[in-house]
């Protein structure tokens, strides 16, 4: 079996999703009662930090020549900074720079345009989506047993949801979860050409927004 990524971790995704849902359930009653606040300025800066589970696969990484090499999730730490602008009382749009790093020194940098949408004006719940570029620098375990560090660029998108406390105040904050998908195309790694590499990252984070 030809694996493109290093392997560690167990049921990371399950933990992430459970933690995110748990956080959302805890904060829901409190925020649902908060009244709509007067709007602040158009510009805001969001800072985020989080834990993620990430894996990568490719279309010829399994003996059958299709996705499903058995690659599993690794633990990843992530930080993000996002300058955003308020489009209206329910929509915020801007850019996001997110850097992820794993224990084995793999690093992914996402630069994306993002949109945050609050279905209910004045309420904390939001959904978000983004689209942009991805750069990955990673030491890769090759089928011949060697390790090769390489840098690749590709396309990425993300979607997610979260909750904001103290919206429209000077500082607002809250938990969020997101799924990042990055795709790198084909890449020569050592003597092996990995075709159609795609990565999935599930993130549970906490953000502070300075308005």
């Amino acid at each position: 079996m030809d694996e493109v990524t290093t392997v560690s971790g167990g049921h990371a995704v399950r933990t992430v999703v459970a933690a995110t849902l748990g956080l959302l359930m805890v904060v829901a009653p409190a925020t649902a009662q908060s009244p709509a606040k007067p709007e602040r300025g158009d510009f805001a800066l969001a800072l985020g930090v989080g834990y993620a589970a990430a894996k990568a696969d490719c279309s010829n990484c399994s003996p059958e020549g299709e996705y499903g090499s058995g690659a599993v999730y690794s633990d990843v730490a992530a930080i993000a900074v996002a300058p955003v602008w308020r489009v209206n009382s329910r929509v915020v749009a801007g850019a996001e720079l997110q850097i992820e790093t794993s224990r084995n020194d793999a690093r992914a940098v996402y630069l994306m345009g993002i949109v945050r949408f609050h279905p209910w004006a004045g309420k904390g719940f939001f959904i978000r989506g983004g689209y942009g570029l991805l750069q990955v620098k990673a030491p890769l375990d090759l089928p011949d047993g060697t390790v090769n560090t390489a840098k690749y660029r590709g396309m990425a998108l993300n979607y997610g949801a979260g909750w904001m406390f103290h919206q429209n105040r000077r500082f607002s904050w809250g938990p969020y979860g997101a799924h990042y998908v990055g795709t790198l195309g084909s890449a020569v790694i050592g003597s092996f050409q990995a075709q159609n590499i795609i990565g999935n990252t599930w993130l549970a984070g906490f953000a502070v927004v300075i308005d």
Partner: protein
Amino acid sequence: MRPLSVAGALVAVLAVVIAAPGLAFAQDSAPAVTGYAPPIFGTLSPDSARLAETAARPFQNEARPCPGCPKRRPWLAVGEVLGINVLYNVVNLVIKPEEEKIYFKTYPKIWWNNISYGFEWDDNTFMVNQFGHPYQGNNYFTAGRANGLSFWESAPLAALGSLTWEYMGERHKPSLNDLVMTTMGGISLGEMFNRTAWLIRDPRQTGKARLTREIVATVFDPITGLNRFISGDSGKVVEKPAEYIPTSLHASFDAGVLWQGDNLSLTGATGDPFLQMNLGYGTLASGRSKQPFDAFLVDLRFGGGAGISEAQVRGRLYGRELGETSGGAASPSRHVMVVMGYDYHDNTAYQFGGQSISFAFTGMRSLSPAWRLATTLHGGGLVLGAMDSLYYDGPDRQYDFGPGLSYGGGMVLLKNGWPVARASYGGMWMHTVDGAQADHWAQSLRFDLIAPLKGRLGVGTTAEFIRRKSYYDAADDVLQRFPQLRVYLTWTK
């Protein structure tokens, strides 16, 4: 992902719709309380007089912004999105061959497997990925519009429907191209179909004419139609919502023959008959936009090398005039706009499909009282495109996926509002992220001439030259050149 049975699902929806009108109309034999249309027959009855009085008062209903607007029901919209997935799933379970039914038998363990596996790229046919999925996304999107949500509120529903289908609707692993095509294509097609169906509906009418219009509109937008029949809105006599009345409407229907050559020559090319419909809803380069897609263009071509050989939608998300104009049709004007695009091209020469967001600058200048010149420059991002290539993945897929850029410009000469000559250039770059690693460049140069014959009838000819070069990382570069000639009769409304 396996091919979806769009047609099957549509038939099922229509079967329900056809069964529903009787019930819906039976409940609406009396004019709606909120109606303020004048009586159709006879004089005002005492009841009608009261209705007229009611209508004279300002309309106030938090759930309905206007008497003819759909009632605002966000949670029902979400429920319908999930219901649409159930419907697609059940239809596939019913109509698929026995050996394929297993792919649509899902339960929580399958859902979890799909979620934890994450996204990959799929190997479906060009038609399924570039038209089938956007069509399915249009159903999710219109569930929002049918329940009183705005364009922007309905957009996340297309993503919700796509995600829940990918994770829960089938056993095939979730696919990234499906998520993008279903969501973005669904938004473009959804708003286009929703507004087109509202062109057909006339809620001021009653009786058989009204029913016929509601049914035909339901063919274009099944979800909104179904909601209207179930809620009884299909029988209420009210004014059409203002947001669904375009500032202008232009349509043309072309019928002719298309010749597609190979490598600079048209010699030996056989003519393919085609029918084409062009719809101009609102005016893209006019005024300030009030809502997304309050102006859009649709080109749809049947025949000419494939069943559906071309479908293009260009919807204005935002637009405004640049600078100040002195007013009047004769004064020069300039506009800037953000346009959302859907493309589907499938013919003997090439295949291309994609979703794009572009900026466009337009200018309009009067040359004389009868003649005007319109110019356009546009450029933007191809969020995700698909283009035929050397890549083969299974028996169904022979194309690449990737993001890129699109750009172009053109000019149209109009005589008394009738376009008589057009010249345009378009270019596109796509970088493969799934398929045969390559950079694809495609350019097209096109000239149109249209001469009025009699009344609304005209004759037209189009000469187009398409140049495509693909730079493959692991294969020789490929250069293709396709001249194309079309001759047609055109009827303009």
